[in-house]
């Protein structure tokens, strides 16, 4: 297949920003009728590449070729003229406008002497495109009435309305449900049949293997390799991406499983989850897997005392505890590392040491007066242990990278010496180096006798790290699988209600 000529290719493309070389002599080929996955960690240069391909950034060096001819994309308009179009993770669309208006915003069809807007023509064209991608949406519906998945269809229809030749999908599945992802795959297949060259950016390997024909890997702004997807496997790709092996990313160590620490009985929430019972033992990592909206985060927040109106009992070390607020949970020894790191986990404007000491100010400074030396010493113990990268612990948390912020949140909770630590999507959006560090640390914690609950939407992560997985579907715990029974098919089918 790769004997055909690439539709779009880059050679030796470089782009730098003050202090960073975002792209360094990279190359890429996109073939007609094929999906090429662009793979790389955060910071590998993927976004810069997309912006270079769509005329938003101008490269300093290198060559862009479209159907064999050198082209320069000076403006987004120039890229659009060639039929290069990108669909982003968070697509900017207009809520109050109709689907047709959204699809044609900025390039309306006109007719007649006075270039009147041709609404009938646009409606018909919109209907045609939506039909082609089998999206049953009425073009006259206002966007605000559509689901996230349907909005995505509209974004794709908008991209196609430019007579797309090269379609870039930038993490398109981030906000989609399982079913919607399947629909997206179907669209991608139709685009392939129509001869488009497709570039697919995703962090999820199962998606890459499901849809891509070829792959190209970037690392730290450099091209490190490409090839056919059927000639590689996940381990091979991870090694290319990070220069590390899979075992290094999921360093599962065996810990001694001890007594039951946490016992949850018939926990129910009026709307989010129903009748959940489980127990957690010392030294155990218990994974919670499920689709977005399965109620996992809500369950964890209930355990942490954030939610109101929760029924059921929670026991810590055989003793019943009444948790009505995070303060109660912390006192009982349950701490929660939230998914929304910036919004819920850290006070961005405050320093590392102030973030770490925040939950136990009253314990450190018993008199009520601040003792910053004592706070700093406490923070030093945990921030050093977690290897937070910062000049000193006075640095604002907001200045740290996502991975290091996550380490601060974990450090903050370890400093309270908890019995149960709940990690909600602990490695979401952090680079693979920090990811491996967080995983290694989880293994360390359970070896020291802590009990860990890990909520994750990443199947390799739960399967790599958990001793047991509870699978949730629409607020119910539908299945529980022990480590020796793990199988991807079984877990995914339980999570989607099968």
């Amino acid at each position: 297949m790769s004997d055909s000529n690439p539709m779009f290719s880059l050679r030796g493309v470089s782009k730098s920003f003050p202090g960073v070389k975002a792209l360094d002599q990279v190359q890429l080929d996109l073939y007609p009728g094929q999906v090429t996955a662009l793979i790389g960690e955060n910071g590998a240069g993927k976004s810069t590449l997309v912006k270079t391909m769509t005329g938003i950034y101008q490269p300093e060096a290198g060559e862009l070729r479209f159907r064999g001819e050198a082209v320069s994309l000076d403006t987004p308009e120039a890229a659009r003229q060639l039929g290069i179009t990108a669909i982003h993770q968070e697509t900017v669309l207009f809520d109050e406008l109709s689907v047709t208006e959204n699809i044609f915003a900025g390039h309306y069809l006109t007719k007649g002497r006075f270039k009147q807007l041709d609404w009938a023509g646009m409606d018909a064209r919109a209907r045609q495109i939506l039909q082609d991608i089998e999206a049953p949406i009425d073009p006259q519906t206002r966007l605000k009435y559509l689901s996230i998945g349907q909005r995505h269809m509209v974004a794709i229809a908008r991209a196609l309305s430019f007579d797309a030749q090269v379609v870039i999908l930038d993490e398109p599945t981030a906000a989609l449900s399982h079913h919607e992802i399947e629909e997206l795959y179907a669209i991608v297949r139709r685009l392939k049949e129509a001869g488009c060259a497709i570039m697919f950016i995703s962090h999820k390997f199962d998606e890459i293997f499901a849809i891509a024909d070829r792959y190209t890997v970037f690392r730290d702004g450099c091209y490190v390799g490409d090839g056919r997807i059927d000639e590689t496997d996940e381990a091979g790709l991870v090694t290319l991406m990070v220069g590390r092996t899979v075992e290094q990313v999921y360093p599962k160590a065996s810990a001694k499983i001890g007594d039951t620490v946490l016992q949850v009985k018939q926990l129910s929430h009026p709307t989010e989850f129903d009748d959940i019972s489980f127990e957690l033992r010392q030294g155990e990592i218990l994974g919670f897997y499920g689709l977005v909206g399965a109620g996992r985060t809500e369950l964890m927040q209930a355990l942490f005392g954030v939610s109101r109106g929760v029924q059921g009992t929670v026991e810590i070390g055989q003793e019943r505890v009444d948790i009505r607020s995070p303060a109660d949970a912390i006192k009982a020894g349950i701490v929660y590392v939230p998914e929304e790191r910036q919004a819920q986990g850290t006070v961005q404007e405050m320093s590392i040491f102030q973030n770490i000491s925040l939950p136990q100010l009253s314990q450190i400074n018993r008199s009520g007066w601040l003792n910053e030396e004592a706070e700093y010493a406490l923070a030093d113990t945990y921030a050093s242990r977690l290897q937070v990268k910062a000049p000193n612990w006075r640095e604002k948390v907001g200045n740290l990278s996502g991975g290091n912020q996550q380490k601060v949140v974990i450090g903050k909770w370890l400093a309270t010496q908890p019995r149960v630590i709940i990690l909600d999507e602990p490695t979401k959006g952090i680079d693979i180096g920090s990811k491996a560090a967080v995983h290694a640390f989880m293994s360390e914690l359970v070896q020291e006798g802590l009990a860990v609950i890990m909520v994750s939407s990443e199947l390799p992560e739960v399967m790599g790290m958990a001793d047991r997985i509870i699978i949730m579907h629409e607020g119910q715990a539908v299945s529980e699988v022990a480590r020796h029974e793990f199988s991807a098919e079984r877990i995914v089918s339980a999570a989607s209600g099968g």
Partner: protein
């Protein structure tokens, strides 16, 4: 080949804050402005440097400045209280009736303080229990408290205050230092300690920067805010004591429009209206800066309207400066 060593990234001791960072601070800028205004004033009028003139000038702003201290903490905590001037009025009415009933100074003062405290409690409970935004609640109570004062007083002016009551607003502790002024100094020190040296102050900043993360860190955000509202109410009651004592009478229009000057002091002092940032020192310097500007313009016989134009322009200028600086700096370093 050299091996990359993983050195500990930070020293284990608490690093000191550099001198340059202190000099670049907002407080330093305000202090400089104050010095400039002081210099200009002493050049412009021969009467300015007279200690008694300066002392007299403090009466015009100290009562407001007292309220600016707790209000600064409330605003840092991402809440606001627009009803402070109305609390002053209601507390003054309460004192007026207590005095009319023949009570002594102690009881009158107590009536003022308790009224203020209760008003603060009303604001705080409405905000924290019913989760109504504080700007809405306190716009409401601003009218409510003032309205009650009008109904209670009607056309009457209450002025049966005992003689000893006058000391609080008119007396001097030592030489040119009035009781009001000394009290403000003491309160400024207390609030400095509370905001910058206690767990309570740290939590105030944490909540102001990120209420959700503060809540998730086990802080009782609602109770914290309730305490601050009560504190603002109580100190407004205290300001009412000072003002009522100085005027020697209570009218329903007492302290009308003060909330805006008090908030101006707080914002000029570098307290972020979005919460999370600001210092007591900044507010104290801003209080003096505003006092000096007003006094200097008064000596030059500048009419009140022009004065408020100048104060308004100063506020906008002072707030715009850092925004412009950030934009300018941002342009240099943006990719």
């Amino acid at each position: 080949m050299e091996k990359i060593m993983h050195k500990p990234m930070a020293t284990s001791g608490l690093p000191a804050i550099g001198l340059s960072r202190r000099l670049l601070s907002w407080e330093f800028f305000l202090l400089l402005m104050t010095a400039v205004v002081f210099g200009l004033n002493s050049l412009a009028s021969p009467y300015f440097l007279d200690p008694w003139n300066l002392s007299d000038a403090t009466f015009n702003f100290v009562e407001k400045a007292v309220v600016a201290l707790p209000l600064a903490m409330l605003i840092i905590c991402r809440e606001i209280d627009l009803s402070v001037a109305s609390i002053i009025a209601l507390a003054s009415a309460a004192m007026g009736f207590t005095a009319q009933a023949g009570a002594g100074t102690e009881l009158i003062v107590l009536a003022g303080l308790v009224t203020g405290l209760l008003c603060g409690l009303v604001n705080g409970l409405l905000v924290t229990r019913f989760e109504i935004p504080s700007i809405v609640v306190t716009i409401g109570t601003m009218s409510l408290f003032r309205g009650i004062t009008y109904i209670l007083l009607g056309d009457t002016v209450l002025k049966n205050y005992p003689e000893s009551f006058a000391y609080l607003g008119q007396g001097y502790v030592y030489w040119v230092f009035s009781f009001e002024f000394v009290l403000f100094g003491v309160l400024a020190l207390l609030f400095y300690g509370l905001l910058h040296r206690t767990n309570f102050g740290r939590r105030t900043y944490a909540i102001g920067n990120n209420p959700t993360a503060a809540f998730y860190s086990g802080i009782n955000v609602a109770r914290h805010r309730l305490i601050l509202f009560v504190l603002v109410g109580l100190i407004s009651g205290l300001a009412s004591v000072l003002l009522t004592s100085r005027l020697g009478s209570t009218r329903p229009t007492i302290a009308l429009g003060w909330e805006l000057s008090i908030i101006t002091m707080v914002v000029l002092g570098g307290v972020s209206i979005m919460g999370g940032a600001g210092t007591i020192l900044g507010v104290v310097i801003a209080v003096f800066l505003m006092g000096l500007v007003t006094f200097g313009l008064g000596l030059l016989n500048v009419p009140g309207i022009v004065m408020s134009i100048i104060i308004g322009a100063m506020l906008i200028g002072v707030i715009a400066t850092p925004v412009l600086l950030i934009k300018f700096k941002g342009r240099k370093s943006a990719p």
